[in-house]
Point group: D4
């Protein structure tokens, strides 16, 4: 009756960033914009930091949804970039699925806008295909908390694990000794309270 | 151990609108009235847009519960309309169940007032009968968030999937290319932020 | 894969009111006192209205926990009343369990103060014994919403169904035609919005 | 020591709609978008209904701020429309001030986006010029409630009166008998709860 | 520079209950209905308890606004009752003002629905006439907290004092010794926490 | 037009603790109990620390209101203690006013339960008598935030300054150099975040 | 189909306190600091009171995370104390797991900072190893409620039971008669409302 | 009776940044850390952008309060930097006041941590000295919203104007034409929603 711990493994995980587009972001109202921007960039930073294969995809870039957030494009210059011609569920796009398969990973870390559609639909499709799915909830946004709650319930019931970017980073890193400075920098750049701790500490120990 | 993705299919889905009556609506306090009105009309619009068989039902129209919201009656002039003589659970009404069966659909999209009664009771009955049940949570309202949370838990545990009208529309539509303008209009009419995106876009590209 | 609808049946249900004591009530801060008082009395009224066997129990009445709320004592003059000498979980008290068994009912409707202890403990015990358990969440109170959320999760996971007094009444009644006036009075006495609907209606139709 | 009641007078009031532009609206997060859209349109409707001189103004329409919300343009086809070339405070624009003066009114009803800038700046300027200023707070939006609170404090301290569109309509109308149907329609179109009351009432009295 | 304490005096105060009608109450969403009902009845009880002259008034009783809440009518069988034919501001109705003047009181305790109209308008008129005005804020309701905040600011700036029913009762009573049992009963009937204190106390001291 | 800064002066201030009784505390629901207990004890600690004359008063100790919180009695063994026989406004009690006068101070720091009565009434009376009044808002509690807001408005309008215990301590202390350890201990005992800072700092600098 | 009640047993439970460090505590923002400090100390008190084997562990004490909260160190002078050199999941540290095994207990009561990492990771590991896991949610803190919700969902889905310190104490104690005074003292020290009840009670019955 | 508009003038304004220290920042809990960090840096950016004389001050840098946030030190390398030896109110420090006087400005833009002390105290002192004071409320933080509300009331009553960094920037800039790109960059760097608008706009008009 014990439950296996399906645990993130940096050698077996890929990141899917779905529809973080400049227009669609104006729909996100369940997370404050300052915090949401920070969370999305933190997730991107950690994907880079751990060298996880990352796939970018957008929906209707030429229309009102707007272009992919420029920072993401710059951070992943050589990542597969699938501008979907119309499929709402990214998993309905063959190129996208092929890009996922090409990573050879079995664990998918997914975030996107809006949660109940751009995140939930591919998550449910991937679960059906046997992938282990981890939702980065705080790098995913939607219209309001009620919508988010419903989306979380649907994904969790289907077997997805609800994570945040910080928990994802910690579970991937496993041990500070793998790289204290690298992880510390990631946290310092995206957690103001942690940055303050580091600054206080550094100042106090500077002269030691 | 993979989980099948029970996905809305516009060829296999019917919509049940339960007890959206002018009196009962004054009981709804877990969603702001402006937003709730918009959500209910958005769900009705999408039912029409996708041509889904839709069933209307009311409880005690002649009494304090009041008549069905007039807009709904007008939008579905030829839909089955079951004014229940007393059954609280619509599924206890033979005409209602027959109307559902007559649609020949296996997926039921349900919304109503109040959530823990008019929505949850028929949802639980339908699940027991083997239907796939999708709750449009944001077109369903009740007394307060605590009541809603309890109702969601009961329905989700029983196997219902918690949706919102936007996620429902997206899952039914599958691909923007099926009809860009139709879906865009639906969104523009019911999502002010999306309407703004479209208006900005249209203006900027007007002269192109 | 269909899920049976475990539905309240007024011929097979008993009500357990656990530790609604004047001292303990000052601990309840997840529901506003005006509303909580109303919910508890509404549950008591419905127990009486449907003639459900009801069991009262208290913990340490002589100490700071205080006496049972007088209204409850008055409403159930002949109900079994188990003043527990020390057991925190009412189900650990033999008299209480015997009183439950003596009802001959298989469905237990439970409410009490505080939720994660006085409600959750007997609920978990009863589930283990094969009872069908329905928690009247809004007639149960505790220290804060976070505590409530944890308690709900524990009870729901164990198989209890999360109800509110209104949903409980509706599921028990099944059909307005069983007694329009009785149910209407119950609602009018405990739902101000419904009372207003009835008053508006009555006034308008008075002269008809 | 008594305080004069500076009361809205429909013969002495003008409406200033400042920077309700499709881009800027995405900045508004202190009011839900469904409600905010409704409030702005309600204010526009009441301006039309009472025949108040109305002035439209925008900031940088050609840039990211986006065009004026199309509905407003359509509702006031012949209103002065000042597309400001750069002034952030509309009152710094001579055409705008001249348009205000041209109305010959001493009471200014102001709403706009965002509250602490596009509303507060011209409000403070107008107060300095001796106008009586009424802020339609719920048709004015900004980044978050904290910003709104600060803006309200600044405007109120300077002598502006904080109104909402409903209070504004009622104070202008004075007496239902001036036009029951007109005011009723305005309310029915913009207050769902009031619409429900009217629909219940109409149905019940239809056959009388 | 000291500020006089304008203090409620039971020999110089009258109560104005404005538009607590069954239809209009469905518009009140800034206070929970259970609590609001309790507050209004508490105010009515205290008006009776202190024997304060009380004036009832309604707006359009025959229409969707609905009749006066029946409890209020019953509690003040011989109070002046002004069913206004159309004036939104009760102070615009000559009968109402005459009724106020007839009380011979200089302090007016006002509550009503909705706050920014039915309460604020007569409050501002009365202040202009030199009355001392006390708003019973928690027996007055409106659409949402934002509307309430704006209305409070307008009334407070104009010189009205913002009270609640409990503070009003305490300021009128001055000294418990004037009637311990009467005031205690008022509190016990309308403050569940106080009732619990009394019940605990009474039980513990019963045998003394 | 400049505004004098009426600033707390430890040589000219007295503290009034009004009705912090074990029964009345169960009425306080606008501040969480853990925080409120801490705030009240912090105020008591600072009164002791600065050696401010402190006056204790209670209302009806023998009845349901309960005794003064024991900690306060212990911390001020020789303070004037006025158990009022019935006056709700402590300022109506001659002994209390005499005790205040006997301090010879012109600045009164007031806190109590409940805010709109036990705090506001004596505050308004003291202001009328020419005292400078400082309300310790976070050591004063009441039924809910709405009541608090109304009470704050009434007191602020009358000239009272709204403080918190931390701001009060800082304004009294003026300069850390007067006693670093004393003030640090006060903060460490009542501000967990500050205690953490101190503990981190002390550990890091311990070996220096 | 009945569900076994996995119930805390004081003879079979150990407590794991993970990373309650002075620096990390500044990251906790889903619970107010006053309340959180109280909850953590309450859990420590109960661990001591029931004589449960308790294990302390920290992460990177020498760095910005800061030392263990001194109170915890003092309360468990002889408890195993594992200062992990780098492992983020305490269960990845052999000494920690050995310390757990050495207790010989099968029930683990876990709390820590932050919830989704320091609590969730060892909880998931322990569940996989067949332990019965109880999370003391209110003695565990994290960045915000959204992060907490995701962490709770992950842990609950994996089989952990969500508790609070009060529920934990009650389930361990089983019967007040085991030690009325001991449990009462624990509650009095950490539940202000309960302390008030006791103080009121003691005073009233003192002379009896 | 008109009220002069005391308006920010970039030629007459100085900025005072008070005690934004790495330790003290952990006390700020009325604004989310991501947002607060952004607001403080935005204020610093605007001070630089408009070339306003800026004064930095800290309290007890060597102790637990921690060093000034490094970013601020870097952004103002040649600004007066007053590390106060003990004065809590910066205005009690002669060097600080002299630095203020040396700017020759009459308008002071103040922000700091914590609001009711480090901001309010110098603000009240400056008002007394005849300065025009503008509080940047969203770059000032404190323990909780209740503390903030009290501090705002005290400062506003004394004559300070409550601003936010965005309103401050707009009032200083007056006209976009003074520098479209500069102001746009400021907004793009600190308002994610505005950045999105610009990115959408730039992409759409890129090819034009």
């Amino acid at each position: 009756m014990t439950k296996p711990y399906i645990r993130l493994d940096k050698d077996n995980a890929a990141v899917l960033l779905v529809d973080h587009q400049t227009g669609l972001l104006s729909l996100v109202r369940d997370i404050d914009p300052d915090k949401f921007k920070n969370n999305v960039l933190a997730l991107a930073d950690l994907a880079n930091y751990f060298g996880l294969p990352t796939i970018l995809t957008t929906s209707f870039e030429q229309g009102p949804n707007g272009p992919l957030v420029p920072e993401l494009k710059e951070m992943f210059p050589s990542a597969p970039y699938i501008a979907r011609p119309g499929q709402i569920n990214a998993w309905d796009n063959e190129d996208f699925v092929n890009a996922v398969k090409a990573t050879g990973k079995k664990q998918l870390i997914i975030a996107g806008v809006v949660t109940e559609v751009c995140v939930a639909f591919p998550a449910l499709s991937a679960l059906e295909q046997g992938y282990e799915v981890f939702i980065v909830t705080d790098a995913s946004g939607t219209f309001n908390p009620m919508t988010r709650d419903a989306a979380w319930d649907r994904m969790s019931t289907a077997g997805a694990q609800l994570m945040t970017w910080f928990g994802t980073a910690c579970e991937l890193h496993r041990d500070w000794r793998n790289d204290v400075e690298g992880l510390g920098t990631l946290f310092s750049n995206h957690i103001p309270d942690y940055r303050n701790l580091i600054n206080s500490f550094t100042t106090l120990t500077a002269g030691k």
